[in-house]
Amino acid sequence: MSSIMTYREAVRLGLREAMEKDERVFLMGEDVGHYGGSYAVSMGFLEDFGPQRIIDTPLSESAFTGAGIGAALGGMRPIVELMTVNFSLLALDQIMNNAATLLHMSGGQFNVPLVIRMATGGGKQLAAQHSHSLEGWYAHIPGLKVLTPATIQDAHNMIGLALADPDPVLIFESAMLYNSKGVLDTQALPLPIGKARIQRAGKDLTILTYGSSLFKALEAAKTLIPEGIDAEVIDLRSLRPLDDETIMKSVAKTHRVLIVDEGWKSGSISAEIMARINEQAFFELDAPMARLCTAEIPLPYPKHLEDAALPHADKIVAMAKKLMEKS
């Protein structure tokens, strides 16, 4: 069964189904209850599931994230909402030193089946402290899985995938996508964690991306057709683990690589992907790989500056064209 819905509705549905299916699932975070979620994702859930399962927390990111870890150890299946990635730094010690670490340092005794959701990304003129894209950065941490749903299908499916995982999973929802629309096939078998998806097959160059940049890349790919450039666009879906296999296959086909991500450039996930392609498919490359990331500044408020700082379809087009010229 397929239906058209927004990304927000897809996440909502994913959450609702998870709550209905498994009593151990509960949602906890700032303003998830009475307010309805800062992006209106859990609007009405408090009425439907009650305050025992939809828990408004105080502004205490570290403690309620840690409490999520503890509840997961206790057999529950908590979904912690950190509102936005900007506030997640306050919970980072719990995420790195407990959630990601407990299983290993206990010698395999204590796994942490915790799901942490947060909105990510700039583009809404929210300026320096509210526009981070740190999902690629989080992918540095062993013990975590890092998911970046871009499509309606993934916005929905990844909730279930994450909850089925016995270990901590972070889901980064692109704030710019909540109102985007698309098709959800409720019968389709979900593509597992760790698998990338070729969103558009092409033979001339590979564009690797995820989250809201996926749609910019697809738009760019369309613009490139009349220019005689046939771009393959891959939605990474998961930043940890990365799907090396799908990436290398595509590189072996196109021999040219452009990576687009909304993190700051130095130390971006784009760098990691470049490193892996260098390691695993160096001799397939016809030209240096290119990356388009966000300018290395705290995002400024004015629209023209924010636009100039973030990746956009026109910049992808320009870089792709340049990349085709090189050899």
Binding site: E30, D31, G33, H34, Y35, G36, S38, A40, M43, D56, T57, P58, L59, S60, E61, S62, A63, N86, F87, L90, K124, Q125, L126, A127, A128, Q129, H130, A295, E296, I297, P300, Y301, P302, K303, H304, L305, A308, A309
Partner: protein, 316 residues
Amino acid sequence: MDLTLANEFYRKMLLIRRFEEKCVELYSKEKIRGFLHLYIGEEAIAVGLMHALSPEDAVFATYREHGQALARGIDPKKIMAEMYGKVEGCSRGRGGSMHLFDAETRFYGGSAIVAGGLPLAVGMALSDKMMNRNRVTVCIFGDGAVAEGEFHESLNLAALWHLPVLFVCENNLYAMGTALKFTESETNISLKAASYRIHSQQVDGMDVEAVSKSVQQAVSEIRLGNGPMFFEYLTYRFRAHSMFDAELYRDKAEVEEWKKKDPLILLHQRWKDININKYETEIADIIDEAVTFAENGTLESIEDLEKFLYSDEVAQ
């Protein structure tokens, strides 16, 4: 207090009120974007507070800081230009509504991470103490900040080191859509503050006179070296949390009840001779001027996008 001061207080509160109402208008015209958090209803705190400070004192505020910035004396033109993201803005347009900064008036933002400003204020006060400067640092935050670890750490440091900080908690009963009773096991915030051995008090935040008096006393105590102080001002925001808030979490009746305590009305009831009409006209002009200034402002050149990341890139 006399009529002159009452007039001044009224005028400043009215400036904030009308300025923000204009901002709402400009927001719906898409002149202002991003988040916009209104201070309407809470004006008495900013005005009473800033009146009691000296120019040498420092102010650290939150994302809900238009009122404090105006009361502190930052030029409304510069603030409006900031809301427009223009170079003439008080943060050169880079900050927007949530990040008003002004070196001249020692206004240190404009911080959008809840409780993130408290440690900074503690540090500023530490530097004053170290340099033997007789200045006070004021740190403003909401009831929501009280649950954060940084609140706890900062209050302890300030008390432990006897620092010249005035903590100002604007308790408007809600953090976004979450009522205080859902977030604190002890809802009397001043009691919580007292547990750090900080002199602490609840004050009516709708009464500009009461606010001003409390701060005046506190500031002179602090200047004498008597360590930090803490006020919990009971107040209410009449508007939504930001422009994206459906306000499902509180009753209209509750809002109406609080509107009866509107600080402007309250002050006028007490001082009937305040010349409201005169101020309305004056302020309308000031705001028009500010809007024109902002409209005519300059957009930063895109070439300068990456400026200001490091000091050597700052235009002199």
